[in-house]
């Protein structure tokens, strides 16, 4: 049974065995740290299983607003350590591409920027990369890969995507978030003057 977690948008947690066993999700984008433990606990309870029935963890690695994104990955890592089971990292856009032939998954990553990834039959062709609302149609071939705008990520679909990719032999061992942006920080070039 797979425990899937995504906090790249709201918070979504799912237990997937033969199909979806249990799900808990909220669209709230400002309270990942509050929801994460409750949701993991809830899906186990709703499914009537214990944590030792989980055999692998899947965590969405974004793109998405960083602060929330990290909560889900950290939780996934720690849950996997607790049970001594593997954890897989998978781009969050993969979830929305499940079952689509050709598409561009587009999500808002704040600061007036969008992240996009184009897929053909669930396989990423290009991206993820950043763009803006104004430049989306020139950066991305939306005629060939029609836009799918996502506001929420389904952890259950993320689990499906991970199973597809593992079956293809893809390496999902990296849990490094898809930040796509360097941290905002200016190197220190010496002191500022205080006297006139």
């Amino acid at each position: 049974m797979i425990l899937a977690i995504d906090t790249s948008a709201g918070t979504s947690v799912a237990l997937v065995g033969d199909g979806i066993v249990a799900e808990a999700a909220t669209a709230d984008t400002r309270s990942h740290a509050e929801h994460i433990g409750v949701f993991i606990d809830r899906v186990l309870t709703d499914a009537g299983v214990t944590s030792s029935d989980v055999t692998a963890v899947v965590a969405g690695i974004g793109p998405g607003p960083f602060t929330g994104l990290r909560v889900g990955i950290a939780a996934g890592v720690a849950f996997a350590i607790g049970r001594g089971i593997p954890i897989y990292g998978i781009p969050s856009h993969d979830a929305a591409a499940v079952g689509r032939e050709a598409c561009s998954i587009v999500s808002d990553v704040r600061r007036r920027e969008l992240a996009w990834t184009t897929y053909r039959n669930g396989v990423a062709i290009a991206g993820p990369r950043l763009t803006t609302e104004a430049t989306l149609s020139t950066d991305v071939d939306l005629d060939t890969f029609p836009e799918v705008r996502v506001e929420q990520v389904s952890a259950a679909l993320l689990a499906t995507a991970s199973q597809n990719r593992l079956a293809r032999g893809d390496d999902l061992s990296s849990l490094r978030p898809l930040y796509l942006r360097a941290p905002d920080a200016i190197p220190n070039n010496g002191p500022k003057r205080v006297s006139g």
């Binding site: 990942h32 960083f66 990290r70 849990l175």
Partner: protein, 345 residues
């Protein structure tokens, strides 16, 4: 060995700490620091710190479990710093701690980082039970606080704190003025060893009689930093050792004078130092001198327990478990300004 077996996670600033204790016995204290990544910026960059916490989380938990030679299933509880600190950094530790608690089916204690510094004292090799009451002076790059602790669970009072920069930040900023590397504390300490602490009379923040009315135990270092900057800019060939020594003397003087005054005025004959700045040689020496003059016992945990670490969080967690305090609800948020009176969220 007895007492609750607790794993503690700390991620409030730039140290990822995982510690494991059994009661008051330290079993593991693993720390990964992102300090070097902040050096080119001259101070902690919150986003860089948060990224580093996530990178370090798996390795520090694994290393702590290996060092403690325990099985995770044998833990009695998990503890995690819920605040105060950098919100994005805290969330990494809290997210990990919540999932670890659920996966192990163990209770979770979200605890106060500052009170954790006080809890570290029980882990000293020569220390048995923590002796209370105590005044605690907790000084780092993230906080400068003076606490009166009569009981670790029910009676922690904030006497005062910085109204602007943390003392560690002041060291970093003055080091930058003197073109010394980051972090500033150890470098100022080194350079100051050759300087005259009485060469320049820098201001002592919030020590004038009028300041003492409203800010008896509060601190302020921003005026001092500006005074140092002005001195360096307006003096031809300033002696860097003298500036460093005189600056350090001002910080050490104010910190220890207020801490000792708090002990005397509250009739408490014990002072505990905590936080990375407690490593500063002059602050330790002056604290020792003034405590001795006033018949106050000075306690300084070893450096690895003074700087931010997971063992202190685990120690406070173990204390809460031993006292029968109920665990936190799983839905608690991080609180970047968590008041010291809230020992457990």
């Amino acid at each position: 060995m007895n007492g609750p077996l607790v794993l503690g996670i700390e991620s409030s600033c730039d140290e990822t700490g995982v510690g494991i204790v059994r009661g008051t016995t330290l079993l593991a204290n693993v720390i990964a620091s992102s300090m070097d990544e902040h050096a080119v910026f001259g101070g902690v960059v919150p986003e860089i710190a948060a990224r580093a916490h996530l990178e370090a989380m798996r390795g520090t938990i694994d290393a702590a479990v290996a060092e403690a030679k325990i099985r995770l299933d044998d833990l009695d509880a998990i503890a995690v710093a819920a605040g105060p600190g950098l919100a994005g950094a805290l969330m990494v530790g809290v997210g990990a701690a919540k999932a670890l608690a659920v996966s192990l089916g163990k209770p979770l204690y979200g605890v106060n980082h500052l009170v954790g510094h006080v809890g570290a004292d029980v882990l000293r090799e020569d220390g048995g039970e923590i002796e209370l009451p105590t005044v605690a002076l907790l000084v780092s790059g993230g906080h400068t606080s003076l606490l009166l602790v009569r009981d670790l669970v029910t009676d922690v009072v904030l006497l005062g704190e910085t109204i602007d920069d943390a003392a560690g930040e002041a060291f970093d900023k003055v080091a930058r003025l003197l073109r010394l590397p980051y972090p500033g504390g150890p470098h100022i300490d080194r350079v100051a060893a050759d300087g005259d602490p009485t060469a320049i009379r820098f201001p002592r923040g919030l020590t004038l009689p009028k300041d003492l009315i409203d800010h008896r135990y509060d601190f302020s270092f921003s005026g001092l930093k500006t005074a140092v900057a002005r001195y360096v800019e307006t003096t031809e060939n300033p002696s860097i050792p003298d500036v460093a020594a005189s600056f350090r003397e001002s910080v050490a003087d104010v910190l220890t004078k207020k801490a000792v005054a708090a002990c005397v005025e509250h009739g408490v004959n014990r002072l505990l130092l905590g936080g990375g700045v407690a490593a500063n040689a002059r602050i330790r020496a002056l604290a020792a001198e003034r405590c001795a003059e006033n018949g106050i016992e000075l306690r300084v945990p070893p450096l690895a327990l003074c700087t931010d670490n997971g063992a202190m969080i685990a120690a406070l967690g173990a204390h809460l478990v031993a006292r029968g305090v109920a665990p936190s609800d799983l839905n608690f948020p991080v609180d970047s300004t968590l008041p010291v009176e809230t020992v457990r969220v």
